[in-house]
C-alpha cells in the first residue's frame, strides 16, 4: 500500500545543459492547461488517502505563477495525513518570492528544496543557471522568514575544470546557510542532454572521488550525517519521501514523465507534453519479475548508509540473504565493500563509492 506521491511540474524558466529530467520551457497557456490536466489525472488515480509524503518536483515547480501554484498545492494538500506528513516542493532562487513562499506555507508545504548548485558565478553560468549565489542566499533567508525550517539545498560538483579548491569554497558557502539538509550530486553527462551532444565528459573517477571525500568530511565535521550516497542531514531531517524510493517501497505518481510504482509494476507517464495536454497520459509499464525485485531492492537499499536488515530481505523474498549470496558476500567483505553489523548489511564508505561494482556482483 503506497502512502507517498510524486508530482511532476515540467516547466522551467531556463533550460540547463546537463539536465536530463522531463522538462519544457515555461509557456503560460501550456502551464494553465497542464495544471488542469494534472488535477484531472490525480482525480483518476484512485489515491488512497491520507498520504504521508507528497513531493512536487520538476522541471521547476516554482516557475508556476502564484495562482497556478496555489491551485495545484491546495489540491495536493487534501491528500495529506494532517497529523503526520512531509510535503516537499522544489524551487529555484530566480523565481522564488515572498508571495509564492507564503502560498506554499498556506497550502501546508513543510519542506523546501532549493537548487543552489554552486557558489561560483562561472560554474552557475556554465550550467545555464539563472541565479547568482547571492540571490540564492537571500532566498534561503526569505524562506526562513516565511516560516520554513526544513530546507534543503542542492550542490553539483565534478563540473568541467572544477578544482578541489572550488568545491571547498562551495562547501563553506553552503554550510553558512545553516539548513538542516544538503544534497550533493556529481555531474553526470547523460545521453539526450545538450552537454552530451556537445561532447562534455564526466570527471575522472579519481578526481571526483577526492571531491566527494572532501564534501563528506566537511559535512560530517559540521554535524551532518550522510544517510544516502548524495544526501546529508541533521538528525531527524532525512527526506521521508525520498526514503520511500530507497526503501524500495511503492508510491503514486502524477504529471508529465512522472514515474510511479504500484502493485509490483513500475510505470512512467508520457513524456510528450502534447499527448499529456490531450489527456493521453499513458507511457511505459514494466511488471517486475522476481529477478527485478531483488535487483531493485539492492539498487535502492544499499544506497543508504544504514543498508537493510536481513529480516527485511527474508520477509520480502522468503529466503536468507546470507545463503542466497554466500559466494559473492565472501569477496565483497574481503574487498572491504560490505559489512555486517548485527542483523544489518550495509556498504562501507569505500563500498558506497563503488556501489555499481557491488551491485554488479549481486546481480545474477
Amino acid at each position: 500500500m503506497a502512502d507517498s506521491l510524486y508530482v511532476h511540474i515540467p516547466f522551467c524558466a531556463h533550460i540547463c545543459g546537463y539536465c536530463d529530467f522531463t522538462k519544457v520551457l515555461y509557456q503560460e497557456e501550456w502551464a494553465f492547461s497542464y495544471v488542469n490536466r494534472l488535477i484531472e489525472q490525480l482525480d483518476g488515480l484512485g489515491i488512497n488517502k491520507p498520504l504521508k509524503t507528497v513531493y512536487v518536483g520538476g522541471g521547476t515547480p516554482s516557475s508556476l505563477p502564484s495562482d497556478l501554484l496555489k491551485k495545484i498545492l491546495s489540491k495536493l494538500s487534501t491528500y495529506l495525513d494532517e497529523s503526520d506528513y512531509e510535503f516537499t516542493i522544489e524551487a529555484n532562487p530566480e523565481n522564488l518570492n515572498e508571495e509564492k513562499l507564503l502560498i506554499m506555507r498556506e497550502c501546508g508545504v513543510n519542506r523546501l528544496s532549493i537548487g543552489v548548485e554552486s557558489s561560483h558565478l562561472k560554474f552557475l553560468k556554465l550550467m545555464g543557471r539563472a541565479h547568482t549565489f547571492e540571490e540564492a542566499k537571500e532566498k534561503v533567508k526569505l524562506a526562513k522568514k516565511c516560516g520554513f525550517t526544513n530546507i534543503t539545498c542542492d550542490l553539483i560538483y565534478g563540473l568541467p575544470t572544477e578544482t578541489l579548491e572550488d568545491v571547498k569554497q562551495d562547501v563553506v558557502a553552503l554550510l553558512s546557510f545553516d539548513v538542516p539538509h544538503l544534497s550533493t550530486y556529481c555531474l553526470s553527462v547523460n545521453p539526450g542532454t545538450s552537454w552530451h551532444n556537445k561532447g562534455y565528459s564526466e570527471m575522472d573517477d579519481e578526481d571526483a572521488a577526492n571531491q566527494y571525500d572532501l564534501i563528506l568530511n566537511e559535512f560530517r565535521k559540521a554535524g551532518y550525517k550522510r544517510y544516502e550516497v548524495s544526501n546529508f542531514s541533521k538528525p531527524g531531517y532525512e527526506s521521508r519521501h525520498n526514503l520511500t524510493y530507497w526503501h524500495d517501497e511503492e508510491y503514486y505518481a502524477a504529471g508529465l514523465g512522472a514515474s510511479g510504482y504500484l502493485n509490483g509494476e513500475r510505470f512512467t507517464f508520457t513524456k510528450n507534453l502534447l499527448s499529456y495536454l490531450k489527456g493521453d497520459f499513458e507511457g511505459e509499464r514494466e511488471t517486475l519479475t522476481a529477478k527485478d525485485l531483488k535487483e531493485e531492492f539492492f539498487l535502492t537499499n544499499l544506497r543508504l548508509e544504514e543498508g537493510f536488515s536481513l529480516e527485511n530481505y527474508e520477509k520480502r523474498f522468503g529466503s536468507s540473504f546470507l545463503e542466497d549470496y554466500k559466494e559473492q558476500l565472501e569477496k565483497l567483505k574481503l574487498d572491504g565493500l560490505l559489512v555486517f553489523e548485527g542483523n544489518r548489511v550495509r556498504c562501507t564508505d569505500k563500498g558506497i563509492l563503488l556501489l555499481d561494482r557491488v551491485l554488479l556482483s549481486l546481480f545474477k
Binding site: D205, E206, S230, E295, L353
Partner: protein, 605 residues
Amino acid sequence: MPFNKKYIRNFCVIAHIDHGKSTICDRILEKTGAVEKRNLSAQMLDDMELEQERGITIKLNAVTMTYKSKDGNEYVFNLIDTPGHVDFTYEVSRSLAACEGAVLVVDATQGVQAQTLANVYLAVDNDLMIIPVINKIDLPSADIPLAKKEIETKIGLSTNDVVSVSGKTGAGIEDMLEKVVELVPPPSGDSEAPLEALIFDSYYDSYRGVVVLIRVKNGRVKVGDRIRLMQSGKSYTVTEVGIRTPKELSTGVLECGEVGYLTATIKDIKDVFPGETVTLENKPAKEPLPGYRKIMPMVYCGLYPVDSQKYGDLKDALEKLTLNDASLVYEPESSKALGFGFRAGFLGLLHMDVVQERLEREYNLNLILTAPSVKYRVNLTNGEVLTIDNPSEMPEPSKIKTIEEPYVMASIMTPKDYVGAIMQLCQDKRGIYQDLIYFDDTRETLKYLIPLSEIIFNFFDRLKSVSRGYASLDYTLDGFRPSDLAKMDIYLNGDPIDALSTVVYRKSAYSRGLAIVSKLKEIIPKQQFEVPLQAAINGKVIARSDIKSVRKDVLAKCYGGDISRKKKLLEKQKEGKKRMKAIGSVEVPQEAFMALLSIDESNEK
C-alpha cells in the same frame, strides 16, 4: 541434345573488387534463362551471408546454362566464379585452370586496377582467351575511350573485341555472350584418354559427403567408376555425377570438356584440395594436372571460449566449419591465462575474421582470439630446429642460436605519385627493395621482400592510406630469413600472460612494447586495485603502464524515475562482463587480446 564438346564454352569473370563482377554474373544467368529474374536474390553467386555483407566472394561456384546464339546453335556455358581477395590467390588460379576463356571486367569510371592485372596475369598463365568488357557505362562518369586505352596500353590487349556493358541495366550483355561463343575456344582433350579431372572447389553435404566441383580435361567420369585422387592417393567409388544449373541436376556422366560435380562418399574435405586431379583407378592418367599447390596457412592464432565450459561447443563448431573450409586448420592447445582452446591457421587476416564471425554468429560462441602470429623457424644452439606458430612456445633465449621468419615477395602497383610514400612504408616495415617496374606513364610496380609478420600488422591499411586507396597488393611466400627477433611478454598484475606474448623485431621492441601496454591500459577497465602492465623481453621490463584502481563508480542521483533505467544499465553491464575473461583477479575484455592489431602506429617510435 547429343553431346558435342564444340558447343561448350567454359569461362570465368575476373574483375577488381567493386568493378561489378557479381552483377554481370547475375545478368548472364538471367539472359541464359538459367535463373528467372524473380528468383535472383541480388548477386546470386555470393551465397554465403557473410559474403553478401562484405561484398566479396569467398567460396567458388560454378553454374551450367544453355545459350541460344544468334548463329542458331545452342551452346552450353559453364560460368565459374572466382574469389576476389589477396588471401585467396591460389584458389583463383585453380578456377581459371578449369576454363578456356575469361571475361575481364573493367570499370568504365575507374579503369584498369592493379588487382585486375594480377588476375589477368593468372589468366594469361593459364592460356585463357580474354574478352575485355567495359562495365558501368550507364554511369555519368563513365569514360569508355579512356578505359579502352588502358586496356590496350596497360594490359596489352587488342580492343577490337571490347564490349561495353551495363551490369545494372543489362545493356550489352548479349553482345558479350556472342563474343564468348565466337572467341572462347571449345574445350580440347580426348574423351577416350584416361580420366583427368581438375578439382577447383568442394563443399560438404551432410548426406552425400564432400561434393566436388570438377572440370573434365580428358576422358569421362560416370556413376560407379572407381576413382583415385592423384595427390592424396585416396580412392573412392563415384555415387553421383551431374551439373549445377545452379540447382544440382544428376546426369550420371561428365564428358571431356564438361564442368560439373561428383560425389563419392568422401568424408573429409581436406582430402580434396583445389588443384587435385581425379583419375580412374583401373585406367589412371600418367601424371597429375600441373599447378597443384598444397594450401598453407599463413597466420595462426589461439581460439578460446570466453566461458571455458564451452570448449566442447567450440570443438564441435570447428569440426563443422572445417567440413566446408579445407584451408582452415586447427589443433588443441592450452594457455595458462585462457585455459583450453585451439591454435588455428588461416590463409590471412580476412580469412581469420570470417572464421571468427562465423563461429560467433552461426554457432553462438563467445570467443577470445589471441594476437595472430606467423610461423617462426628457431635454430637452437644444439643444432635442433623448431617451428613455432605460438610465441609462448618460444624456448628460452640462451638455447636459441637464431630465429628465422617467413618473408613474402610483395608486388605493389601504384600511381607514380605515391611511390615515395610507399617505399617509406616498406622500409618502416623492414622491407628489402627488389625492383621498381615501369608499367606505363602513370603507374609503377614496386617489389619488396617483406617479413610476413609486418604484412599482417596494419600493412594493407597503411598502404591504402598512404596511397589514398590507389595502391594494390599481392604477395607470395618467399622462404625464411634470419631476423633479430625476440619474444616479448606482457605482465598483467605481475604475472606473464602467455596469450599476450608476441615475437617482435628487437629494434622496434621498445616502441611496440610501449604502444601495447598503453593500448591495454585503454582497453582493460579499472579494477578495485592498481594493475601494473609491463612489457618485458627475457625478463627485463622495457615498457610499463599502470591501470589505476577505480575509486568511484556510483550513480549520483537515484530517485523514483531512475531505478528502472539504472537496473537496465547494470544488467547490460553484467552481460558485458560475461564477455570478459578473468585472468587471476583481473577482468580482461576480449579486445585486449587483439590489441596488437589495433595499435595506432603513430604511438610507435
